[in-house]
């Protein structure tokens, strides 16, 4: 069981800020494929990965990173703070 968080337009497209996902995915990319296969709104949100960033347990990471031991995955667009 992994907590998956969405922010900014990713949150808006998927329609929720957070969910618990039961998954056997071993990498972020595997998880993305599982989510894409769920529903159109997920496929849309994850259609262009170059427009997305991922954090694993609150550290920026990559889509080919392992999910081993990870409790929290967050997907969001590039940051625009400051």
């Amino acid at each position: 069981m992994i907590n998956v968080l969405y922010f900014a337009w990713v949150r808006e497209r998927i329609g929720l800020p957070k969910e618990q996902v039961e998954t056997a995915a071993t990498t972020v990319m595997d998880l993305v494929e599982e989510l894409r296969a769920r529903e159109e709104r997920y496929a849309l949100a994850f259609s262009d990965l170059s427009a997305l960033r991922v954090a694993l347990d609150q550290d920026l990471s990559d889509f080919d990173a392992s999910l081993d031991g990870v409790r929290e995955v967050a997907f969001f667009p590039p940051m625009t703070g400051g």
Partner: protein
């Protein structure tokens, strides 16, 4: 070192005056204040979303990196989230050092990293609707200056 993430407005002048106060071995204090900018003249408000937990963690890491690179007596980062009006302060950073070059470089570095590495997202609300602000390639490229 102080990192503050809050919804409430802050008083940049009062923060500047309180920063590094009583420290007599500093010669230079640099501050940066980010202001809600009404680019097109039609901005009603700005909404800033963030990632509670990761935000504080990322800002602290950026400050620690600045302290490792330059001789700083103190560092301050304040960043708001929630709803802002045009002209409102969004955030500020301040650096204190013996020498001006260190204070300037560290503040510049903090801003570059904070822009692209701290999990904040801005949405501009106008009469026509609301749009997420797109990240600029130039902001990502700015990080190359420090590698």
């Amino acid at each position: 070192m102080r990192v503050v993430v809050q919804e409430a407005p802050f008083d940049a002048g009062a923060e500047l005056n309180a920063f590094a106060k009583g420290d007599t071995d500093i010669g230079a204090v640099v501050s940066f204040t980010g202001v809600t900018r009404d680019v097109s003249g039609g901005l009603a408000r700005m909404q800033i979303e963030h990632y509670p937990g990761m935000t504080e963690r990322a800002l602290t890491q950026i400050c620690e990196e600045a302290c490792a690179r330059w001789a700083l007596a103190d560092v301050l980062v304040i960043h708001r989230f929630g709803t802002m009006e045009p002209g409102d302060n969004i955030m500020m950073v301040a650096t204190a050092s013996r020498h001006r070059a260190d204070a300037f470089a560290a503040a510049d570095f903090l801003m570059d990293y904070l822009k692209s590495r701290a999990p904040f997202w801005k949405k501009e609300v106008t009469a026509d609707g609301a749009d997420w602000v797109a990240a600029k390639d130039s902001d990502e490229d700015a990080l190359d200056r420090w590698s």
